[in-house]
């Protein structure tokens, strides 16, 4: 079982901070216009921040993926633990992509598509760009090898 690159924690924590700050700012603005005490939204935002940070760290610890003989296996989720088995035969195509935030921490993700209705859900974040393209190429190769004649 492989874990994600540790730096993904930075990305997730930053995301949680941004979210908490935005909510806090909206809350403070709202409190000021309504004339309510300002400390309520601030405490709320701080709580949100703490929860977000803890969630990000736990999320990193729970994430894992593995390429098995005939399938790709993923494990993730803090509140709801999700484990997914994607048979290699079912892989339609594989993407590796880098969002703006991901680029700033030098990471990339690999997205695996199947014909299933939840296909696009299979996304492995927190990979080094090289690992991501390697994974993409490897999965592509394995998928071609496994060759499902009727993918649908």
């Amino acid at each position: 079982m492989k874990s994600l690159h540790p730096r993904i924690r930075i990305l997730w924590v930053v995301r949680a901070v941004i979210f908490a700050v935005i909510i806090g700012a909206i809350g403070t603005a709202g409190a000021q216009t309504l004339g309510a005490p300002i400390w309520i939204p601030i405490i709320f935002a701080v709580l949100l921040l703490l929860l977000g940070v803890v969630h990000s760290l736990l999320r990193y610890r729970k994430w894992g993926y593995e390429i098995r003989d005939d399938s790709l296996y993923l494990e993730r989720g803090v509140l709801t633990e999700v484990r997914t088995v994607v048979p290699l035969v079912r892989i339609q195509h594989v993407d590796s992509r880098r969002s703006a935030l991901e680029r700033t921490v030098g990471l990339a993700s690999t997205v695996v598509y199947t014909a299933g209705s939840r296909g696009a859900d299979v996304r492995i974040p927190g990979l080094e760009p090289d690992t991501a393209s390697d994974l993409r190429e490897r999965l592509k190769g394995l998928a071609i090898e496994a060759d499902g004649e009727d993918a649908v």
């Binding site: 997914t84 088995v85 035969v89 649908v152």
Partner: protein, 555 residues
């Protein structure tokens, strides 16, 4: 338009002339556009694609490979029926939208197109099949599987309570309550209010029931299902006629649905889901139903006609989970009561807010049935999963249709040591979270079931691959035999010329076997490797069964 209207004020008569001119102009442009669209629209059936050329301003040429076509539907609305024309919808996998619409063709042309596409599709699939075979397939054996009876249609209407209508009305009403309440007589007591609410509630239910009944009857009027060699054809509709096909090899899941009422009278609903498209989705409601209502017996027979899955014996979730369901129901009721209480308190009205609490008495029964109806079953080739306390749904998925296997355990499920295993398929309905899922099974079972499903999927795919290879082999052998027969037919004619060519040979017996090898020798060389597999294909079959038993023992 605004410009014309404003100019009338200034120009008087001239203005109204302008309006007429403008209207005529718009009409002319529209008619011209439609005419051009009609003129520019063309479709061609090539050897392996259906080509559609269309567009007035921007031209669009689209080629759809037959292989990708899932369904070809023909639909007619009232106007189209009066004019004797029809619209042909071409559906492909990967998207719930229609890939191409060919409008304004005659009914005959539409049906011709339907059969042509079917034929070409079949020919492409069996690439080695001879022309004769594909010609035979043009007129397949039609067997009517199902035809709705008037009594059944009436029942469909009776059972078609549309909760969405009630929801819409309620949403509209709830928005207007703050405006209505001041209008009520000031001395309105709780009883008056309660009676008023009850009347409104009953009329909403009655209205949505009538709406549901009418739309269901209109939708399923004259519903028939016909079976041909490799597909299911359906036809239905009173105002708008729908007809279409569901190829057997595109069927993803089968759903058998019932509720206590239907069960009581011995009826059930059958749903068939294909990849990316559920038949008759264009309908406003209940559209995914392949058979809206039929006796349980007929539904089961039909379901087995589509997939031979046997009789499922469901494994239920652990019994302790009933307590969880009970708690959940009680919590939901508590929330509803609390909301009712809050409203009565805020608006200061005496309303029996504790009324929903009566339902607490019913929740143990509901919890029990919820548990009773939940379960999964691993058949030889199919996974069956059932769920639902009121509307009970059993989903049957062939293993080889599974796309991904997902297991999830929410924080609440973990407290009860249970989890959910979902078998995701490529159907469009599953977007609504309607996948076959074994919900709330024991934690230990979760992992085993997940791995088991993956293993069975792989085994099933291998089995299918072998079967396909065998079928191909058999088809090739048959083709060879035909060729051989033809070659022999040629042989009969040829010896005369051959004897003429070699009159030296006087032995009559050696003359006839001699020519035989010659025309055939060309063929036999290329065919020998193909002929030998006859015994090996049996071997293959054996090894195939071995494998499946092996995977069984592994479990």
């Amino acid at each position: 338009m605004l410009f014309f209207i404003s100019s009338t004020g200034a120009g008087g008569l001239g203005g109204s002339v302008l309006i007429v001119l403008g209207a005529v102009g718009v009409l002319a442009v529209t008619v011209g556009y439609e005419l051009l669209y009609y003129q520019r629209f063309s479709y061609v059936l090539t050897d392996d694609t259906l080509d559609i050329h269309s567009g007035v301003v921007s031209r669009r040429d689209r080629e759809i490979p037959y292989r990708r076509i899932q369904n070809v539907d023909v639909s007619q609305n009232i106007v189209q029926r009066a004019l004797g024309i029809a619209a042909v919808n071409v559906e492909t996998a990967g998207g719930s939208s229609t890939e191409a619409v060919i409008q304004y063709v005659t009914v005959d042309a539409a049906e011709q197109l339907q059969t042509d596409v079917r034929r070409l599709k079949r020919r492409e699939r069996s690439d080695t099949a001879t022309d004769e075979e594909s010609k035979e397939a043009v007129a397949p054996d039609r067997e009517e599987l199902f035809s709705i009876e008037p009594s059944e249609l009436a029942l469909v209407g009776v059972f078609s309570f549309d909760p969405r209508v009630a929801g819409i009305i309620l949403a509209v009403l709830s928005g207007s309550i703050p405006f209505v309440s001041p209008a009520l007589p000031g001395d309105a007591t709780g009883v008056v209010l309660f009676v008023l609410l009850a009347i409104i509630g009953v009329s909403i239910i009655a209205l949505s029931w009538v709406v549901g009944a009418i739309s269901a009857v209109v939708n399923f009027w004259g519903f028939t299902l016909t079976r041909t060699e490799d597909e299911l054809q359906y036809e239905r509709g009173l105002l708008q006629r729908y007809s279409g096909t569901i190829p057997f090899d595109k069927i993803q899941t089968i759903t058998i649905e019932d509720n206590p009422l239907k069960r009581q009278f011995g009826y059930a609903t059958l749903g068939v889901e294909t990849a990316g498209y559920a038949p008759g989705q264009a309908g406003s409601r209940g559209s995914e139903a392949a058979v809206p209502l039929a006796t349980i017996d007929r539904v089961h027979r039909l379901a087995h006609e589509l997939e031979e899955f046997g009789i499922p014996e469901y494994t239920r979730p652990p019994k302790r989970i009933r307590i969880r369901y009970f708690i959940r129901y009680v919590m939901a009721i508590a929330v509803i009561s609390a909301v009712a209480f809050a409203i009565t308190w805020v608006y200061n009205i005496t309303f029996p807010w504790y009324l929903p609490l009566i339902a607490v008495l019913l929740s143990p029964i509901a919890a029990h049935y919820k548990w009773l109806h939940r379960g999964y079953w691993l058949g030889d080739d199919h996974l069956a999963a059932r769920s639902g306390f009121w509307t009970r749904q059993a989903k049957i998925v062939p293993y080889y249709r599974i796309q991904t296997v997902i297991d999830s355990r929410t924080i609440f499920q973990r407290r009860w040591d249970v989890g959910t295993v979902i078998a995701d398929t490529a159907g469009s309905l599953s977007v609504l979270g309607n996948d076959a899922a074994a919900i709330d099974i024991d934690e230990q079972e979760v992992s085993t079931l997940r791995e088991e499903l993956n293993d069975r999927l792989q085994a099933s795919l291998r089995k299918r691959e072998q079967q396909k290879a065998q079928e191909r082999e058999q088809r090739r052998l048959r083709a060879i035999e035909q060729q051989k027969a033809q070659a022999q037919g040629v042989d009969v004619a040829e010896p005369a010329s051959f004897e003429w060519a070699s009159p030296v040979d006087t032995d009559p017996e050696s003359a006839s076997p001699k020519p035989k090898p010659k025309p055939k020798s060309i063929d036999t060389d290329s065919l020998t490797p193909a002929i030998t597999p006859i015994p090996s294909s049996e071997d293959q079959h054996q090894s195939d069964t071995d494998e499946s038993t092996e995977s069984d023992t592994n479990t």
